[in-house]
């Protein structure tokens, strides 16, 4: 009696989890489509400096205009595209690189492990700003190089996470069983280790999206980051900084866009985890 109720509850919850996942997946897909085709949705040319400057939001300009006399809504849409795509690229790079290195280190152990982990130590302890400055000088500014600078300091976090997760798994019974049944190293990693560590890594990656968006913007004061006239949400916020009291829409518009993007990715991340990881389903 009680058992059947529990099972039924779990089933409902599972359905809910599925539904939520599908919903957020669709929402994110729609969002990404809007973002990728942002130019089509822009009411005006985002770079045309043709309107009067710093007009408050109105029917013509729902998000107002900036101090160059550009339509803020168009710039926010294009800025969303720049920020989201570059942030996703950054997070993808550091997650992939970090995971590969971490799993290999954890799985192989020995000298390679020690060497990579010392390299990670150096990257983690090194002031990112010094590195960013050097990259700006060597490779010039631009968003790609900002992504590169952050990737160099970002991967160790994932490598350590993947490594510790791998180590924890290596001693698990089912891995031993797989090994006994003759799985090769590659099969072991691909079939058993990667799927099992994907959850925590994904959650960390999703949590990083908002932060990384900010950090990309933070480098723009060194000249690393989007070059004008490219719109980018973080730099739009920081360049509007002094206008918080006088022309708040210049800073609030991009802020709300960042919030929406961050919230969406987090919700998706949560639902992905719920689906992937049955334990948290309770």
């Amino acid at each position: 009696m009680i058992d059947s109720v529990t099972v039924r509850r779990q089933k409902i919850r599972k359905d809910h989890t599925r539904k939520r996942f599908v919903f957020f997946l669709l929402a994110t897909a729609v969002f990404l489509i809007v973002v990728c085709f942002a130019r089509q949705f822009c009411p005006y040319d985002p770079n045309a400096q043709v309107f009067s400057a710093l007009e408050p939001p109105s029917v013509q300009h729902p998000a107002g205009t900036d101090r160059f006399g550009r339509d803020m809504l168009s710039r926010i849409l294009i800025g969303l595209r720049t920020s989201v795509l570059s942030t996703l690229a950054l997070v993808a790079i550091i997650t992939a690189a970090g995971t590969v290195i971490g799993v290999l280190c954890g799985h192989l152990g020995g000298a390679a492990d020690a060497l990579m982990m010392r390299a990670a130590d150096v990257c983690l302890a090194f002031p990112g700003l010094v590195l960013a400055l050097a990259i700006a000088a060597l490779l010039n500014g631009g968003l790609q190089n900002a992504v590169l600078a952050l990737a160099v300091v970002g991967w160790p976090k994932y490598a350590r996470l993947a490594r510790s997760q791998t180590l924890a798994l290596e001693s698990a019974d089912f891995i031993a069983a797989a090994r006994l049944s003759g799985d090769s190293s590659v099969q072991l990693v691909a079939r058993h280790i990667l799927p099992n560590i994907a959850g925590p890594i994904l959650v960390t990656a999703v949590l990083d999206i908002g932060t990384m968006m900010m950090e990309l913007a933070g480098l723009s004061f060194l000249g690393l980051g989007a070059m004008p006239p490219t719109a980018e949400l973080g730099s739009m916020m920081s360049s509007g900084r002094s206008m918080l009291q006088t022309y708040p829409w210049v800073i609030l518009g991009p802020g709300i866009a960042i919030f929406a993007a961050v919230a969406l990715f987090h919700l998706l991340g949560d639902s992905v985890r719920d689906v992937l990881d049955p334990r948290t389903g309770r």
Partner: protein, 519 residues
């Protein structure tokens, strides 16, 4: 009920922390009922701007010495940037090399010592011994003191000696009292320094025996507030009474009865240098089109919020050789298009960018973000030049100092500089436009300019110097070697219960004896 206990534990902890905080938060009592103190917030008084203290014999610390009313120079600038006596009462040019300067009687240092010829000699002697820039500027061979006169002999004819003596490094300080470990000196100004912490604060007290009127406040504090928004809020909350270096975007907050503004055009100019090593810019039509395609008016009104003046030449109109003394090209997009058409730059493939002989009309615009106006200028010019058919690629980087020395890496370089720090025009040309200039990044060369520069160097007559300066600027403009976009309007904001905080075109004088509580 279940979770309430844990919650209450955390709540208690939170209350404890808050209590701790509010317990320390003594009510801030308003002590300004009878206004005898003044607090000035300044964004630039720090070691990064080479103003670590107020010792005029060190780097640019003289700026702080003179701005905050501690030191005074022998001569000073009037509001129209002409030289007038200050600690001196007059001078006599005995021959091209010899200057006989008469000192004001009855002036004492805050240490109590009388300011006489001997004191001035000691001070200037020490200055040229330790300060490289002053030594190079002044070219002093010997100084002799006799009562209230000093006679300075220069090693070469130095028409601008009085200008250089009016530079902040020329503040006359008492060398017997010396320089303390904190960098405090004894000057003759309306206030004397009590304590100084580099990059944080300077405390000043009224100089009771000041020679020129009674200073208005008993005590003045100068706070270094490097963040512009913090400066804004500190003035809003009343923690400071006056502010220097406020972001333009904050101005609307203070444009009311509670505050007064004082602003003036300074010789800090935002300008563009053309790279004469760049193949595309060697084409005079391209340079001309750029000069005609930058909308200075819009840059000044929209982006600087009216806190600048469109520039014609290198100097603002407070100078006799500035402003309308020269004619620059007007913003004329149609004219610029015509110039380009005529030179064969046409948009054949319809992408909005002109081409000629298969070369796109692309220019690389180098600038840097540490001066907030420069990226704005770049972005604005990018749009207005884009409308003419240019493709402007902006590179705004902290690394510009190494890039600008590589002529292959850029086409135009936009930067900011003070063109006449000493009120004399020669400085700009010798540093930026001649073959021998350190900052002639675009390797511009003009025979005519070199000739006039040589003449300027040997001319003592101020009127003639002004004429020469105007002619030289006109050469630069006719060659389209530089585009001067805007002069910065320097503004100070202060509460309206204070008067006398007045912006001066040379940016040297801030706190004076005129600063006092409003009646």
């Amino acid at each position: 009920m279940k979770k309430s206990r844990i919650l209450s534990v955390w709540l208690a902890a939170a209350v404890l922390v808050l209590g701790l905080v509010s317990g320390c938060a003594a009510p801030s009592s308003d002590t300004r009922t009878a206004k005898t103190t003044f607090v000035l917030g300044d964004t630039t008084f720090n070691a990064e701007n080479e103003e670590p203290d107020i010792n005029p014999h060190r780097a640019y610390s003289g700026w702080a010495c003179i701005r905050y009313g501690v030191g005074e120079t022998l001569f000073r600038y009037s509001d129209s940037m002409e030289i007038e006596p200050w600690l001196a009462t007059g001078y006599e040019l005995v021959d091209d090399l010899t200057w006989k300067i008469t000192l004001r009687d009855g002036v004492t240092f805050s240490s109590g010592r009388k300011m006489d010829g001997e004191a001035v000699k000691e001070c200037l002697g020490h200055l040229i011994e330790v300060h490289d820039r002053a030594r190079g500027d002044l070219m002093i061979g010997s100084i002799t003191a006799d009562g209230q006169t000093v006679t300075i002999r220069t090693t070469e004819p130095r028409p601008t000696l009085l200008n250089y003596l009016s530079d902040p490094y020329g503040c006359i300080i008492d060398m017997e009292a010396g320089v303390t470990g904190d960098g405090i000196v004894c000057g003759t100004g309306p206030y004397l320094a009590v304590s100084l912490t580099t990059g944080e604060e300077l405390t000043l007290r009224k100089n009771e025996s000041y020679w020129d009127g009674e200073p208005g406040f008993d005590e003045i504090t100068v706070l270094t507030i490097s963040d512009g928004d913090t400066l804004t809020m500190a003035l809003q909350s009343g923690e400071i009474d006056g502010a220097y270096g406020m972001p333009y975007a904050s101005y609307p907050l203070f444009q009311n009865d509670g505050y007064t503004f004082s602003g003036t055009a300074t010789s800090r100019v935002f300008f563009v240098s053309m790279n004469f090593e760049s193949s595309i810019l060697q084409n005079p039509a391209v340079r001309r089109a750029i000069a005609m395609g930058i909308d200075k008016e819009r840059f000044v009104t929209d982006l600087l919020d009216g806190n600048g003046y469109p520039a014609a030449g290198a100097f603002p109109n407070v100078f006799s050789f500035g402003g309308d003394a020269v004619t620059a090209k007007e913003y004329d997009p149609d004219g610029a298009r015509a110039v380009l058409e005529e030179a064969g730059w046409v948009d054949t493939d319809g992408d909005g960018i002109r081409e000629k002989d298969g070369q796109e009309l692309t220019i690389r615009w180098l600038t840097y973000p540490s001066r907030q106006e420069l990226p704005l200028l770049a972005e604005s010019a990018q749009a207005s030049l884009g409308a003419i058919g240019f493709d402007v690629i902006v590179n705004s980087t902290a690394d510009h100092n190494s890039i600008r020395t590589d002529p292959a890496a850029w086409d135009v370089y936009a930067s900011a500089m003070v063109t006449a720090p000493t009120g004399d025009p020669a400085y700009f040309f010798t540093t930026h436009c001649l073959d021998s200039s350190t900052a002639n990044n675009g390797h511009y060369h003009s025979d005519a300019l070199e000739g006039l520069a040589a003449e300027l160097n040997a001319t003592f007559d101020t009127a003639r110097r002004a004429e020469l300066a105007a002619d030289m600027q006109q050469i630069l403009l006719d060659d389209d070697a530089f585009v001067f976009c805007s002069h910065l309007r320097m503004s100070m904001v202060c509460r309206s219960d204070v008067e006398g905080l007045t912006a001066h075109p040379c940016d040297f004088y801030e706190i004076t004896a005129d600063l006092k509580p409003a009646p």
